[in-house]
Symmetry: C2
C-alpha cells in the first residue's frame, strides 16, 4: 500500500428532502497534506453504513453534531495505519474510528478511535458484530429491555445488523423471538440463519393479525429499530409490564415534517399496560464496550451468534449503500469496501 496523491471523499451536497437520493451527495478529491505531530495517517479499508446517518443529515438538534452541506459524510471505518507520529499507533496497525466517507483519514487521538486486535476475527467485525451493531444489541436488549427467560422478544428490522444480533442474544437468554422484516426472503433468513422462533413481514393489511398469531402469548420486549406506524401496530401486542427499547427510527429519521394534530398514540396503552419505553444510545455504554465485545466474541467462537455482511465495493458506492439501508435493501451489516 502506498499513499496516493489525493484523497477522494463523499460530500453531502444538499440536505435530503425526505429519503436521501444519490443526487444529495457528490464526490470530491482533495490533496493530502503531510501529517503533523501526534497524528497518524489511516488508509480506510471498510466503511460502516448505519441508520444513525439519516438523522445526522437533518438540521434539527440531535444527540451528536450533524453533517452540513459541503462536509464529508460521517461514517465509522476500519483502516490501516500507513504513517504515524503517534506513540500509540504503529505502521500496519488496524484501527477503528469515526473516519468519514473518504479514502484517507487523520488519526489525531479522537477518543472513539482504537487499535484493533486481529485475533478477534476479520477486521470489519469491528464495524458490526464486535462494534456499534453488537454493542447496541447487547446493551439495548440486556440493560434496557431486560428480557427474562421464557419471555417473547420482537425485533423490528429483525434481519438488520442490530436486529439480527438482538434476536440471537435474546435466544441465548432463553426467550422466544419474533423478527419483523420487510420481505419474505428476510423472513426465511431470520428463522433459518439467525434462529428466530418466527418472523412476520410488515406492510400488509393483515400484519397485526399475523403478528398476533406469531406471538400468541403477546410480546414482552419490543426492540424497535424502526418507529413510525409499525410501532403502533406492535404496541397492540405488547403485554402488561412490557418494555420498548427505542433504539432506531428508520421509518421517521428522514421526515422533514413530523407535525401531527394530536398527542402520542401510545400514551393510553403505556398507561394501561404499565409499559416502559426508553430511548437508548449505545454511546452511553462506552465504558462497557469491552465487556460486550468479549461476550459477543465468546458466543461467536462457540458458533452461537453470527451476522451476515452485505458488501458494496468502492467509495463511490457509499451513498447507494446508505440508501439501501434505509429502504431495506441490505442483508445484515451494510459495509463498503474501499481498499484492499
Amino acid at each position: 500500500m502506498k499513499r496516493t496523491d489525493g484523497n477522494h471523499q463523499v460530500i453531502l451536497a444538499k440536505r435530503p428532502a425526505g429519503l436521501p437520493q444519490l443526487t444529495d451527495f457528490e464526490m470530491r478529491m482533495i490533496p493530502l497534506a503531510p501529517i503533523g505531530p501526534d497524528q497518524a495517517l489511516v488508509q480506510i479499508i471498510w466503511l460502516s453504513i448505519d441508520g444513525f446517518m439519516i438523522a445526522r443529515m437533518r438540521p434539527e438538534e440531535n444527540y451528536a453534531a450533524g453533517v452540513n452541506p459541503g462536509d464529508v459524510m460521517q461514517a465509522y471505518g476500519v483502516g490501516r495505519v500507513t504513517q504515524s507520529n503517534r506513540t500509540d499507533r504503529h505502521v500496519g496497525d488496524f484501527v477503528f474510528g469515526p473516519f468519514g466517507m473518504q479514502q484517507w483519514a487523520i488519526d489525531d487521538g479522537n477518543p472513539m478511535t482504537r487499535t484493533l486486535d486481529p485475533a478477534f476475527g476479520p477486521i470489519q467485525s469491528a464495524l458490526g458484530i464486535q462494534g456499534i451493531s453488537g454493542w447496541s444489541a447487547y446493551f439495548g436488549l440486556l440493560d434496557v429491555g431486560q428480557p427474562k427467560p421464557g419471555e417473547t422478544v420482537a425485533v423490528s428490522a429483525g434481519a438488520g445488523a442490530v436486529g439480527a444480533l438482538v434476536g440471537q442474544i435474546a435466544s441465548l437468554n432463553g426467550c422466544k423471538t419474533i423478527a419483523i422484516v420487510g420481505s419474505e426472503a428476510k423472513a426465511a433468513q431470520t428463522v433459518g440463519e439467525y434462529g428466530y422462533t418466527a418472523s412476520v413481514v410488515r406492510g400488509s393489511s393483515d400484519f397485526s393479525e399475523r403478528l398476533k398469531q406469531a406471538a400468541p402469548g403477546g410480546i414482552d420486549v419490543y426492540f424497535d429499530n424502526v418507529g413510525g406506524d409499525l410501532y403502533d401496530d406492535v404496541l397492540e401486542c405488547i403485554n402488561t409490564f412490557g418494555r420498548v427499547v427505542v433504539c432506531g427510527r428508520l421509518a421517521t429519521a428522514h421526515l422533514t415534517d413530523t407535525a401531527q394534530d394530536f398527542g402520542p398514540r401510545d400514551h393510553n396503552t403505556l398507561l394501561v399496560k404499565r409499559i416502559r419505553k426508553q430511548g437508548f444510545l449505545v454511546s452511553d455504554y462506552a465504558a462497557r464496550f469491552t465487556e460486550a465485545t468479549s461476550a459477543i466474541a465468546a458466543w461467536q467462537a462457540e458458533g452461537k451468534i453470527k451476522l451476515a455482511e452485505d458488501v458494496l465495493v468502492g467509495l463511490g458506492q457509499a451513498p447507494a449503500a446508505l440508501i439501501r439501508l434505509v429502504t431495506g435493501g441490505n442483508n445484515g451489516k451494510q459495509l463498503v469496501r474501499i481498499a484492499e
Copy 2:
C-alpha cells in the same frame, strides 16, 4: 343514622360521546335487601371523584373492568358500618372501599375494602391525601420518576389531587417544581399553597415559551396526569435522561377516535434524549400502601404536605363532580358528600 327503605344510585345511562354529559347518567332507587352471612352494610358518606372513571365508561379494554350502561357508576367511597355479619367489621366502623355512586353498599370482603383508623385524620383523607391520590403521587414520583435533589419536576394538572401532592413530595425531596395548570387562579394556588417553584397556565399560544422560562434548566421528571398535545409541548423541555411518569390521561381518556395518520410523536425525542416513559398504576403498589400512608401522614403531621378538598353535597351531584374534574373546574381533591 338509620337505614332508609331504599338505596339511591347513580347509573350510567349511556356511554358518553366525548366528554361525559349530565344526560349520560340517571338516578335510580332500588329497595335495600337484608344483608347475608359475611356481609356488612355500609352507609356511604363520602364519594371520591377520580380521573380513572372516564376511561372506565368506555368500551375498550382497560386495566380494570369498566362500567356498562345500566350499571351503578364506579367510585371509591368512605362510609360507616351500620349492620354487620362480618367478624372484621363492627357497627360504627369507618370503612374505605370501591362502593360505587350510591347511598348504601354491601361490604362482602372485597380485598380493596378496609377499616379506617380515625387517628389518621378526617375520614375523607382516605380518599385523597392518605388514599389513592396520595399513593399515586408517592409511588409514581418516587418509584417511577426517581427524582434526584436539585432536579426539576414538572406536573400536569399540578393543582389536582395527585398533582398537588406530587409537587409537595418533590419539594420535600429537594427538587424544583413546576405546576402546569388550567387557570391563573390555580397558578397562584400551586405556588402559594403547595409551594411549587413556578407555575405555567396551559392552553395559550406562548405556552412552550413560558414553560421554558419557568424551567430554564429543563425538566428532569415530567409527572403526566393529562397526556394529549400538552405532552408534546412539554417533551421539548425534557432533559436528556429525563423520565416521564404516565399516570393519567385526562386529555384523551374520553376520546372515541384516537386514530392518527402516523406513529407516536415522541419516538425521536425519546431516542435522542434517552428518555424513559413508563406507564404507572397505583394498584400495582397495593402491598406498599401502608408505607405510603405512614410517610404521608408523618409529613402531614409536620405541616409539610396538604391537599385542598373540593366538596359537592348530595349523591345527585356526583355526575356534575365528575364533569368538573374532567374540565378542570375542581380545586384539589374532588369529593361528594352524600350523608352526615
